[in-house]
């Protein structure tokens, strides 16, 4: 996942890498407000996940709030190489005294990490690599020892960057490692007239496969069981207890929670699989519930209406097959009632799944599940 410049800079900020003051804006009015807040000349930068936005007219300078509003109006809504500009970054204009290039990346050819640093920043690195390849210092980074202060100083010195750049390089490496990034690139990394090192731009590519280690970065929406359930289209609410509950119909499930509570145990969740309880949905649901380490027993409470109990029972059996040994961890109490309940119950008994127990009434099933959760 590529981050927008403003997201990359937010990450930089969190890791102590200096960035210009600024904020993202979605309307010209908002850009004006940010410029007014900043109280200095600003730069309006199109937030798009593609290069070459400067040439395309996506970066504009503005002396004050009024011109910031005007320029933002021009940039917002632009199409830059097929990317619609939905937001702009409004940043305090920062004048570089010198411009550098710094990047850490995954080197596919070597299957390792690589640092690339140059005292000639500000242009496309591919271009620089062609016109003056020696101007780029390339250093493979040992994945175990990484970039410490000495390595960072060495990198800065070899590339001709001031000593003050070394701690910034070290922190960029921290971004690389701690965020599981595939690329961390700053172009230009600048030195101001007063000798401050500032990341004037930022490009970060995160590894989607490592999202499990960084769920916060993938928007809050991807964290937690509730979000996993939402991604599967399941209606799930995490609660504080130990009896996992799954059933068909919001009202019946709410009622089931109450009956479990009445039996002296706290429900671990609300999970409504809806009307047509397919095997896959049942498996998805059981999987989410069993992924909750608080769950000590599971109560499946289904009323066979249009979807008859035999269909539901077949769904449960298939679900348990799909789950394999994940379904073996904790006892599952099943209550089937309504249309074709007898047939459904027989299907479940014939399947002889080792953790499944059947109870024919809702109240009795809740009591059994509560007892099992208590370890009795």
């Amino acid at each position: 996942m590529d981050l927008y410049e403003h997201q990359a800079k937010e990450l930089f900020g969190r890791h102590g890498i200096p960035i210009p003051p600024g904020r993202v804006a979605a309307t010209p009015e908002e850009a004006k407000a940010v410029a007014a807040e900043l109280g200095v000349p600003v730069v309006i930068k199109a937030q798009v996940k593609t290069g070459g936005r400067g040439k395309a007219g996506g970066i504009k300078a503005a002396a004050g709030p009024a011109s910031a509003e005007e320029e933002a109006a021009g940039v917002l809504g632009m199409d830059i190489k097929g990317h619609l500009v939905r937001t702009v970054l409004v940043e305090a204009a920062t004048v570089p005294f010198e411009e550098y290039y710094a990047a850490f990346l995954v080197d596919r050819a070597q299957g390792g990490f690589l640092a690339m640093v140059s005292a000639q920043g500000g242009m496309e690195i591919e271009e620089l690599a062609e016109t003056d390849p020696d101007a780029i210092v390339r250093l493979p980074i040992d994945p175990v020892t990484g970039v410490d202060a000495d390595t960072a100083r060495l990198l800065a010195a070899k590339a001709g960057l001031p000593d003050a750049a070394a701690p910034v390089l070290e922190r960029l490496w921290q971004v690389m490692i701690e965020e599981d990034a595939l690329l961390v690139e700053v172009n230009p990394l600048i030195c101001t007239t007063d000798q401050r090192i500032v990341a004037l731009d930022g490009k970060v590519t995160l590894d989607d496969a490592a999202a499990f280690r960084h769920s916060w970065a993938y928007t809050e929406a991807s964290a937690g069981l509730e979000e996993q359930a939402r991604a599967k289209g399941l209606n799930y609410v995490k609660l504080d207890g130990r009896v996992g509950v799954i059933g068909n119909g919001a009202g019946l499930v709410m009622s089931t929670l109450d009956v479990v509570a009445g039996a002296g145990a706290a429900p671990a969740n609300f999970l409504d699989i809806g009307g047509g309880a397919s095997a896959q949905v049942m498996a998805d649901g059981l999987e989410i519930i069993l992924a909750d380490p608080d769950v000590r027993s599971v109560l499946v409470n289904v009323f066979g209406g249009i979807t008859t109990c035999d269909a539901v029972a077949n769904g449960i059996v298939t679900a348990l097959e799909l789950l394999g040994e994940r379904g073996l961890a904790r006892p599952i109490v099943v209550r089937l009632d309504g249309n074709n309940a007898e047939v459904g119950r027989r299907i479940l008994s014939d399947a002889r799944h080792p953790v499944v127990r059947q109870v024919s009434t809702m109240d009795g099933a809740a009591e059994t599940a509560a007892r099992l959760a208590a370890g009795v």
Partner: protein, 294 residues
């Protein structure tokens, strides 16, 4: 007897040519419902074959009503088109419009509710519809889990409706109405209580509520003043935490408002017996009927 829907009701289905629409039309026909028309814009002139009967499809509700005398519409169109489908039905003057679709934006429900005021009874959205067992079914309530009888049932929840209908299948129901679990709905508990009170075919009423809003509290106030028939109730969601939506868009406790406990207390304060579980609720209904018969 029954409320809202009888054996004489003539039903049209908006969205009958879709997967859900056609599946449930077949079931409604099997339950004895007079399904007289389907409506799908742009598909007028066809008909859909349901084995023993072919149901004609019209391009508009107005046309279907004019040609077939339909007086009930059941809406199965996807959420983003539901608003305009219901507005079409209301504009055409249908007396009863049952909106099954789940996931209708609340603003759309507010708008068609405002449009329908005084013209069309809307049931739903996000509801299982209603059934008068042995007579007619408009929606998706299974017809084969219960029998005709003299209990009236009104519920926010579909499956709990089925559960109670099944538990009391030997006694039977005049009409069961699933009014839906959305924040804004067309027909309320009070509307149904009023109709059951007035219906000579109904002897007693089961009311199923759930957390969220204050419909049950208002129903309690209504019962105190206007309902003389025995009412028993069930409320789901005692264990629901604050601020979490429990499946139904409207089922949410906000601060101290909308709790199951408050609803139970409001109902008990006006003499309605409230069951702790669905099965206890069924038992309460049996004893209420016994007392009434005694």
């Amino acid at each position: 007897m029954a409320i809202f829907l009888t054996k004489d009701s003539r039903v049209l289905v908006q969205g009958m040519t879709g997967a859900e629409g056609s599946r449930h039309t077949a079931r409604m026909l099997a339950a004895g419902t007079e399904v007289v028309a389907g409506v799908t814009p742009g598909k007028g002139g066809r008909s859909v074959d349901f084995g023993e009967r072919a149901v004609p499809v019209f391009g508009s509700v107005a046309e279907a009503m004019a040609e077939t005398g339909a007086d009930v519409s059941v809406v199965f169109v996807p959420p983003r088109f539901t608003g305009s489908a219901v507005e079409e039905a209301v504009t055409a003057g249908i007396p009863l419009c049952v909106v099954i679709t789940e996931g209708v934006p609340v603003h759309d429900a507010v708008r068609f509710r405002a449009l329908a005021a005084g013209r069309t009874r809307i049931i739903g959205p996000n509801c299982p519809g209603l059934i008068s067992p042995g007579q007619s079914s408009a929606g998706i309530i299974p017809a084969d889990i219960t029998a005709a009888g003299r209990i009236g049932l009104v519920s926010k929840s579909g499956t709990l409706t089925y559960q109670l209908m099944y538990e009391l299948r030997d006694v039977g129901f005049s009409t069961a109405v699933g009014i839906g679990g959305d924040p804004v709905i067309g027909t309320t508990h009070i509307d149904c209580l009023q109709a059951f009170q007035e219906d000579p075919g109904t002897d007693a009423i089961v009311m199923i509520g759930e957390i969220g809003g204050d419909a049950e509290e208002r129903a309690a106030a209504y019962i105190e003043r206007h309902v003389t028939k025995p009412v028993v109730a069930y409320v789901a969601g005692f264990t629901a935490p604050e601020g979490k939506t429990m499946g139904h868009a409207g089922a949410i406790v906000s601060g101290s408002s909308g709790t199951a406990q408050a609803k139970k207390e409001a109902l008990e304060a006006v003499g309605v017996r409230v069951g702790r579980t669905p099965s206890e609720t069924a038992r309460l209904m049996r004893s209420a009927l016994d007392r009434a018969a005694a």
